[in-house]
Symmetry: C2
Subunit: 330 residues, 2 copies
């Protein structure tokens, strides 16, 4: 298998050890596979916890730090973290003002976060949940009732993290997280399948001249298979799908995200096509982010997320953030 690993069963634990070595400002709880902000819990601040299966790095552990998450739970690759780990993260994040759970809409994650929220409630920790379901490609999917949660998760984590840092209440932080999700749509295209360390071979077959249009971040099927098309045409499919589901309203934050195996050269080229199309449609891009942020291991592919933002969302997007995977203003 063409991977920098030792034992396939130890990949996540050993990657977390490497993250801890690289970032002494974070704490890693190896037993629960948590990444925790070094100064957590921050007294009086609404805590923010996210998590999910590993293999989507820098999401979520790479987004822990001032201005974003207080703690992230890393499940095994493409596998939800268990309720006990989520509960431990919730405790670590609780500074007395309650904790927000940011949950991508996959059945395992939803169930395990729900259970952890109940357990936390029994301990007197107030929990609110934002369910992210931004992927407009398909209605239901493998492991998902309703739309899948993908790229908008980054925007939800950034915006709620900034508001929590200002001392807003848990209810207000949750409300803006839900607003960001509601205003966001995403659509992904895969050129190759990801290879998990456990399987050692690509998760699905994709002929040399075909792409999966509307793919999920675990390789779930999309809307259709199609012959590989020029970037301009792929951009049009993505933009049309998102704007059909989430019509334009105001200015936007655009995330052009690589799925792990796609070079930045191609991502910028594709971003140029997206920007040109949005200009044609009179959709203003107020902020943008181009790079590999919500990945699917080594999958060659890209996702587009458009968030129709208001002034408050843009203000919080611009607020300082200091994490391993996203940093500005500090």
């Amino acid at each position: 298998m063409k991977k920098f690993i030792n034992d396939p069963g130890e990949v996540v634990a050993q990657a977390l050890a490497g993250l801890a070595a690289a970032h002494p400002e974070l704490r890693v709880d190896p037993d629960n596979q948590l990444v925790i902000r070094g100064d957590a819990p921050v007294r009086g601040k609404a805590g923010i916890v996210s998590g999910g299966g590993s293999g989507h790095e820098p999401l979520h552990g790479g987004f822990v730090g001032p201005g974003m998450l207080d703690a992230a739970c890393a499940g095994e690759v493409f596998t939800s973290p268990v309720p006990d780990a989520i509960l431990a993260a919730t405790r670590a994040a609780d500074g007395g003002a309650g904790v927000l759970h940011i949950v991508k809409n996959y059945t395992g994650d939803v169930l395990n976060f729900e259970m952890a929220a109940e357990l936390a409630g029994d301990e007197g920790i107030a929990v609110e949940t934002v369910l992210v379901d931004d992927d407009v490609a398909v209605r239901d999917s493998t492991w998902t009732a309703g739309r899948r949660g993908t790229g908008a998760t980054l925007i939800v984590e950034k915006v709620t993290g900034a508001l929590a840092e200002e001392g807003a209440s848990l209810k207000d932080v949750a409300a803006i997280g839900r607003a960001v999700n509601e205003r966001s749509g995403s659509f992904a295209v895969a050129l190759t399948a990801a290879t998990t360390p456990a399987a050692g071979r690509p998760g699905f077959d994709l002929p040399d001249d075909e792409m999966e249009v509307g793919v999920g971040i675990h390789g779930e099927p999309g809307r259709r298979r199609a012959k590989i098309a020029p970037a301009a045409e792929i951009a049009r499919v993505m933009v049309d799908a998102i704007l059909a589901a989430k019509p334009a309203q105001g200015r936007t934050i655009v995330l052009l995200n690589g799925l792990g195996g796609t070079p930045l050269l191609e991502l910028y080229l594709l971003y140029g096509e997206v920007a040109a199309l949005l200009a044609e449609r009179d959709v203003e891009i107020a902020r943008n982010l181009v790079g590999n942020y919500v990945t699917s291991l080594d999958m060659a592919g890209a996702s587009l997320t458009i968030c129709h933002a208001d002034d408050e969302i843009l203000r919080l997007w611009d607020a300082p953030v200091r994490t391993a995977g996203l940093r500005w203003g500090v």
Copy 2:
């Protein structure tokens, strides 16, 4: 071909258009394929120019901005920029205090930067050059007399950029750039070959169970082919090779760099192994950077760069930088 492109001959130009759309704080000169700091030339500041073949993004265009480069020349994929383009970049960067050329040691780049430096001299622009040749894997290589220039380029660009920003003279900026190069060693391992848009297939054959040990960033052969090994063993090969060529002296900056197709999960795992080995050898890691920074398109692989830094180099490493590919402190 599994790429987000339109016409293979237009990839670099269209990617630069995308970069310009994403980063209005930069200027892109499409004719010369340059990325230029928006406020260049900065009056009285030593200008800094780098460049080389495309396909290594975010190097170099992603490192243009306050605290790093004033301009970057993007050649076609894996092809040196022409002297006229380098001259145009030099003019754009010259604020009257002369211009530093940071050149990776490949024959085409060296010749073209030399010619551009001569032409700039004829126009009265003082030019100094730092030749980066940090790759300890092989002495000579395809397209290279002497050692190849790789990961240390990022550190040279960061440190010289910071010193120039403080108003230091061209000679002093060049001197610290040479010191960083002298103190740095790099070593790369490829698990797969990169596919250029022009060729449309992998640049070399690498069997499913083998790796290229000591590979160059264009897929140049390394020291040997070997069976894929555990990450701990690969880390040991890298660390031993670098410390043999560049013995420890003081604290280090460690760059664990992905070659484009390797997920962050694996890079952090590998970084953990490197950190453990350096601790065993009493080499202190004062700063580190983990991610895809000096890439080879979609190559699965990683390089390790160790820079034996002094206090001044560390101070300049920590200075604020605001570019598309590297940002902190602002």
